[in-house]
Amino acid sequence: MKDKIKPRHTPGELRYTDLTAYDKGLVERAVRSGHSRRDVLKLMAVTGVSMATAQNLLSTGGEAMAQTPKKGGSVRMASNLHGPDDQLDPPLMTSTIDYTRSRVLYNSLLQHADDLTPQPELAETCEPNADATEWTMKLRQGVVFHDGTPFTADDVVYSMNRHIAEDSKSVIKSVLESVQEFKKVGPHEVVAVLKNPNADLPTLLGLFQTKIVKNGTTGDGIGTGPFTLESFEPGVKSTHLRNENYWREGANLDALEITAITDPVARVNALIAGDAQLVTQIDPNAFRQIEEADGVTLLSTPAGLQMGICCLRNTEPGSNDDFVMGMKYIQDRERIVNRILKGKGTLGNDHPVSTAHGADYCSELPIREFDPDKAKFHFEKSGYKSAELYVAPVMSGIEDACLLAQANCAKIGFDLKLKKVPTDGYWGAVWMKEPVNVVSWNMRPTANSQMAIQFAPGAAWNDTFWNNDRVGELLTLALAELDPAKRHAMYCETQELIHNGSGMVIPAFSNINDGIASNIMGMPKVPLGQLGGCEWPEFIWLA
């Protein structure tokens, strides 16, 4: 991503510094709002700016905004969770602290840009055949692992086939289900052979777990990444030094310490006191404290972090269409976003795709309004007078949202009982078991995978037990569709089917909220995880 935007300047053309303050603001907003470079160029072309000028503006503008990254310094990052199960083996990684360490130590084949378009990383190119069933990747040459071993196709084949092996424990085994195998074609060429077409494969190759380890190893920390491993103590911390032989221009920081502070109040205090420069998961209650403190910044990235209530469709009361509709209409979505999430969120529309998914989000489908009368009508028609909702603090704000729903239900004479349970053990004991329960889903990189994981017929995590053959059909068709307009129409239909038919109530999506020291520059904004999708270690620098 970084090596893609190289400043280019044509003499005699307009430069960023020549613009008025207002125009500078426009360019800056266009670049910063997460539009891809091509989008901004198109926008400028429409407004009558010549291509060369536009190129110039963008590159010099980017330059002026980014200033010159300074080398040196070190930071400490404090995640929200760690423990003896901290991993350096990419396929088994499940937490932000693991993902961050994987970004520090290893590289993927492809990398996500802020707008989720795949960018080259260890693979220089990734080209499909005509029907998207074979993807050929040319690998970067001259890359070496931390111990000096050269990086080759063997490492890729070994690392990637670990996910899809029969006895694989990989967290993303099902995500890469469509892949038959990764085959070595040459010393620096690999082909992914698919069982069925998948136009989203490049995006999947940038997932946290797809980092490339050395052939035959299981995550000993020796990768090709921007930092080397100095020490690692699970549940305590890891320390890292800059990899001076990195294949890109290399990290700006000299050293990193990655740890966690599990107590949310202590985490915020550590940030403000300067004991940690990057902290994850800021609770909405602490937004003001951070905004008012000197030297620290609240980093809120719009993301598809799903706040959901599952009504299981294979059992009472979720099997009743009217009960589910009542639950959907009783959600005061605006209030949840504005009051509970303090504005750091987006409205949900009872399907799992959010505006953060970009073009695949169906903006044509109107957001379901908060309508107590309709809710009352549906609850009465359903014949139920009460229901029990299992609530655990699986994400911040979800308990308050349930309390709000309870209060609104009480006003229309429906008794929504909240049964509070601990998060500890929730995913095994309550989720997908109790008839009505809360859920949170991290954002998946594509709208397709986001919907497929929960709503494709027979999906392993079909957490509302709702099966719709048309949804499955559309998801498969869309993967092979290369025309953006047709794809969008298909995804819109899918979202509408889920919006109306499934047992999933999604009133809101939460932003990802982190805190950083104000002198940290160059922070990426990939919405797939905390702290810019954990992409920061290679790119940030201290002003």
């Binding site: 400490r76 404090a78 760690h82 423990g83 003896p84 199960d85 901290d86 991993q87 088994l92 499940t94 006895d167 694989s168 424990k169 990989s170 967290v171 085994k173 099902s174 020490s231 103590e233 699970p234 549940g235 305590v236 911390k237 740890t259 966690a260 502070i261 599990t262 107590d263 109040v265 202590a266 205090n269 550590a270 403000i272 006191a273 300067g274 004991d275 940690a276 500890d424 053990g425 995913w427 095994g428 004991a429 989720w431 889903w441 392993a460 995590w461």
Partner: protein, 316 residues
């Protein structure tokens, strides 16, 4: 006679440890979800669960898992963490050192302070200093430790920037840096444990002070300070040692709140992490260490009271 009593205490201690091990083993298995389910979390499928369970040996019956573990324990092998794959001794090793460091420093400061203040209060009951001590200790006992800790962080780290907000240790720290890093957890814990010890010392001594032989000493004109130090303190020392022992055991095993707030990598926090990841060998190992610490300290306290008290030394 005394040796027999001590041996009996030791036997009871070992029996206690064994009983606790069975209880811990059974209780940890009652937690919802096993290690495999916790490792895979929201991403678990029946297929991946089965593979992982087999690999971790979770498909064997419970009592076999228990006896294998107990056997390993006696040979000093604490086993391998099911969640991370590291050996338990390597996970516990550094943490145990950290916990002992913190507990040791706190004990070193709080025990002399408590005994001196307790004695002082007992020597001058009803004086202003006694009232201040009584009021102060009552207040700190009533206030939860997380409150004291959080207030201290807000004042000394967030506002004044005098001390670090977290007690993160590095290998290359000098002793002074170490003390600075640990200052806030130490002060918090000293406040928490001293209060109890001061009150116990004061109450124990005042209790003895009302007994006839002290009255006799007073009537004979022995100075009050000498009565307390020579006659009352030695007789009151039994319960005081017991309170000290309990507080030391608490410092080893029960300071999870303080460890969490200051992000201090100690043993209590490790055990909680172990519970959350359903890492049974880890939880059991921690529980055994805590249990052994309690039993040992209370054993020492009992022996201490027996030695210091002739009536217990020569039971009828």
């Amino acid at each position: 006679m005394m040796l027999q009593m001590v041996l009996r205490r030791i036997a009871i201690g070992i029996a206690t440890i064994l009983v606790v091990s069975v209880i811990v083993f059974v209780m940890t298995r009652l937690l919802p979800g096993d290690v495999a389910q916790i490792i895979l979390g929201q991403g678990a499928t029946p297929e991946t669960l089965a593979v992982l369970r087999k690999e971790l040996g979770l498909d064997q019956p419970g009592y076999i898992q228990y006896f294998i573990w107990l056997g390993d324990l006696f040979t000093g092998d604490l086993g391998i963490s099911k969640a991370g794959g590291a050996t338990i001794s390597s996970l516990i090793g550094g943490r145990f050192g950290n916990t002992m460091l913190l507990a040791g420093l706190v004990a070193l400061i709080s025990i002399p302070i408590s005994i001196v203040l307790g004695l002082w209060a007992a020597m001058h009951p009803g004086s202003w200093l006694d009232r201040i001590i009584t009021f102060g200790t009552l207040s700190t006992i009533s206030v939860p430790e997380f409150f004291i800790a959080t207030i201290m962080v807000l004042i000394f780290a967030v506002e004044l920037h005098w001390l670090p907000s977290t007690a993160m240790l590095a290998d290359n720290m000098s002793f002074l840096e170490l003390l600075r890093g640990l200052a806030m957890p130490i002060i918090t814990l000293v406040i928490v444990v001293s209060a109890q010890m001061i009150r116990m010392t004061r109450a124990g001594i005042l209790n003895v002070m009302s007994s006839p032989y002290i009255e006799m000493a007073i009537l004979k004109g022995v100075p009050r300070g000498r009565i307390i130090l020579r006659h009352a303190f030695l007789n009151a020392i039994g319960p005081i040692i017991n309170v000290i022992a309990l507080n030391l055991a608490y410092l080893v095993s029960g300071v999870v709140v303080v460890e969490t707030i200051f992000a201090y990598p100690g043993l209590a926090k490790l055990m909680i992490d172990g519970v959350q990841t359903r890492d049974l060998p880890l939880v059991q190992a921690c529980a055994m260490i805590f249990c052994t610490t309690y039993v040992l300290l209370i054993l020492v306290a009992d022996i201490g009271s027996i030695v210091s008290n002739p009536r217990l030394r020569h039971p009828k």
